[in-house]
Symmetry: C2
Subunit: 424 residues, 2 copies
């Protein structure tokens, strides 16, 4: 994973080596600090408008509901909430997630669900369970940086398939499948970073090809409920279940897809509650991995999340988030029309948190970021970071969920200025 020059700006001075540093394992030589995590530090400077992070808008956090839930949990079940708990997660929460997923087409049992400490932990445990050094993982290009960071720790290599406006280009998939990937990693909805959505036709073809080549799929769906226009599309796990004939009521969930989702975008990331869906034989292994990794996710946070989410609050709350983020997406698309030169193009996400810019020919987005920070105090993530095998130098990821519409307009105006100046 190439790290842009940007990191020179934010990297802390490395202290002198100690006895310990001679002992770092081989896998650390391939690890690099996450550009995105380091960039979060820049957003703390008050005069910078940052589209770099992937933060939910704090204005939408349901503070009163979380406070009520915390009080209720502590008063009624406090000694359970503060105690050790089962690794697989709090059963009422897993049951609630099963009911919620059923409404989105995913039919599983609580035994198919394990709670994780954020989706990042799901990715890490999948790496721990499946990846031997040198194993190839097939990803979209660009793809989610956190997944690369999780799996590079296990010395994964990558096969990549480009994305266009309809998501992963399935016509280019088969050639890569012949490279023998351990699994495919796919974000079908409003993909991070590109904001594109895999079309229904491509979903069907992707599942068919993956089954044909015996290559499992890891489906990462953090944003599926955050759709601002268009119709919900069936997740890969549902399409695959139909292929494997395990979509019938009472059929055991088997099949070829592991599915990941999270409460970080629909409730609050600070609780660190996400989940993974898998056949029972895989869940029991993932539970072993999680036992070794952190025993279990916070009992208190799981019980608070359950207490907030039950009785339909989360559904009403997601509608509110859709309105707020939909407005911000529109604000960014409008601002881009107004302030960006015609030599640039961008995706029109139907949901999620991110939008993807392609800069004029010969531009380099890492250089542009430096200029944007210096000249106009505005930030984004250079797209090259998201390409596991290089490329994407002309691309940028912009987040539209965090900043308010007027700030979005001002930030896009500033960024447009930098680009126009370079073109002039």
């Amino acid at each position: 994973m190439p790290i842009p020059a940007l990191e020179l700006e934010v990297q802390r001075a490395t202290p002198a080596p100690t006895l310990w540093s001679e002992r770092f394992a081989q896998r650390t030589q391939r690890m690099t600090s996450s550009v995105i995590r380091e960039l979060l530090k820049l957003t703390e400077k008050p005069d910078v408008i940052s589209f770099a992070g992937g933060l939910p808008a704090p204005e939408v956090f349901p503070l009163a509901e979380v406070e009520r839930a915390s009080e209720k949990v502590l008063r009624e079940q406090g000694r359970t909430a503060l105690q050790y708990a089962a690794t697989e997660g709090y059963l009422p929460l897993r049951e609630l997630l099963v009911r919620q997923m059923a409404r989105y087409g995913i039919k599983v049992k609580p035994a198919n669900v394990m709670i994780t400490s954020g989706s990042q932990q799901g990715l890490d445990l999948i790496g721990k369970l499946f990846v031997n050094p040198g194993d190839r993982i097939l990803t979209e290009s660009p793809t989610y940086l956190g997944a690369l960071q999780a799996w590079s720790a296990y010395q994964a290599d990558y096969l990549t398939v480009p994305v266009d406006g309809d998501g992963l280009d399935v016509d280019k998939l088969e050639a890569q499948l012949r490279g023998g990937p351990k699994f495919l990693y796919i974000l079908p909805n409003f993909q991070n970073p590109a904001g594109v959505t895999l079309s229904l036709e491509r979903r069907r073809r992707l599942v068919e090809l993956a089954n044909h080549y015996g290559a499992p799929i890891v489906e990462d769906d953090p944003y599926g409920q955050l759709r601002y226009e268009g119709e919900h599309l069936p997740p890969l796990v549902q399409i695959d279940a139909e292929v494997h004939d395990c979509a019938k009521p009472d059929a055991e969930f088997t099949g070829n897809v592991l599915y990941l989702s999270t409460l970080s975008k629909t409730l609050a990331p600070g609780l660190r509650i996400a989940w993974v869906v898998a056949p029972e034989s895989v869940i029991s292994r993932l539970v072993q991995m999680k036992q070794g990794a952190d025993l279990h996710s916070s009992t208190f946070c799981q019980m608070v999340a359950y207490e907030v989410a039950k009785d339909g609050f989360l559904d009403r709350h997601v509608k509110h988030i859709r309105e707020v983020y939909g407005e911000r997406r529109n604000a960014m698309l409008g601002a881009l029309e107004r302030h960006f030169p015609q030599e640039t193009s961008w995706t029109k996400p139907q949901g999620g948190l991110f939008l993807w810019i392609t800069l004029p020919e010969s531009f380099d987005s890492t250089a542009l970021l430096k200029e944007a920070l210096d000249q106009e105090r505005v930030a984004f993530v250079p797209g090259a970071s998201f390409f596991p095998r290089g490329g994407g130098e002309r691309t940028c990821r912009l987040n539209f969920s965090y900043a308010r519409p007027d700030v979005i307009d001002e930030g896009i105006r500033r960024l447009g200025n930098v680009i126009k100046r370079k073109l002039a």
Copy 2:
């Protein structure tokens, strides 16, 4: 790590293999389910008296304080508490831990502290950062099962040194150090499982030998504050800092020891808040590992823990826990005197949660557990699980923190009956 027959009792039926199961990584072949975690399920049966778990007493959880802290955090900083946060952890909490550790002789800066999701995560990240397949880790024998579970996932091998009533037998250490361990893993205080404490003289000799052989030490100290008799002994990290001359004010913390501790035993395990102390160069790598593993520990839990702990509450609370657990330890020691035959022996822990039984010659503690459950509905952990390279068939770990004194007496009476019956 051998798994006793006990597991046959509790193991769930394994579902048929799927496409996925052919793809488990090589490392999973060495992973086994944790006996302790599985045993926790037995404690749910209401008629079983279980000394098997390692649970704090829920009666001592400070529910009112956690409720007040949760309310204050959500009202005053709710949008921060529910948002993503820095991987290294909440700075005010790290500063508080630095002040607390200084009173126990450990002089470091907040930059030397990373918050983890329980000490289990500290152990896992250390494995991820340092352990290549086949690397040897030198442990006490017996040692903490969770550490073996964390490191076996990275395909570690083990060198072992036996413990006696004064902790690790340093006279047998040098021969094992010649085996070239990647690091030593030591629990100096009220060790889990044996309940023994490393004497001051042995601490000094251990640090000296480790430095002589250039072998770093991972010091795991979850129970250090829970001492019920005798004087506090300096942690290895403090003795080592004196050797490396970095114990002076303002000296940079370097040296040969990584130190782990936790709020799980002094506040509440359900919050999953622990920490690791290391030189800055190691912390920066551990932060990278944690980014890939779960981004950060729950912001909400960290802020609640800080709010509860500040202003001296935690110190007062630890005094209360010491009284409660000290009484329970005395209850168990008294009950053992009353109910156990003279052919058995046990350790007399000065603190912590566990006590260690050695059964009469020719006994097998795994067989005894089965009989104890069948005949008398009482449970413990067979000691063999804690020996990385085998042995310990006559030993048992008993927890004394969870059950009330009268229940402890009854449980020990029952267990004594089973042993006496076998001897008769």
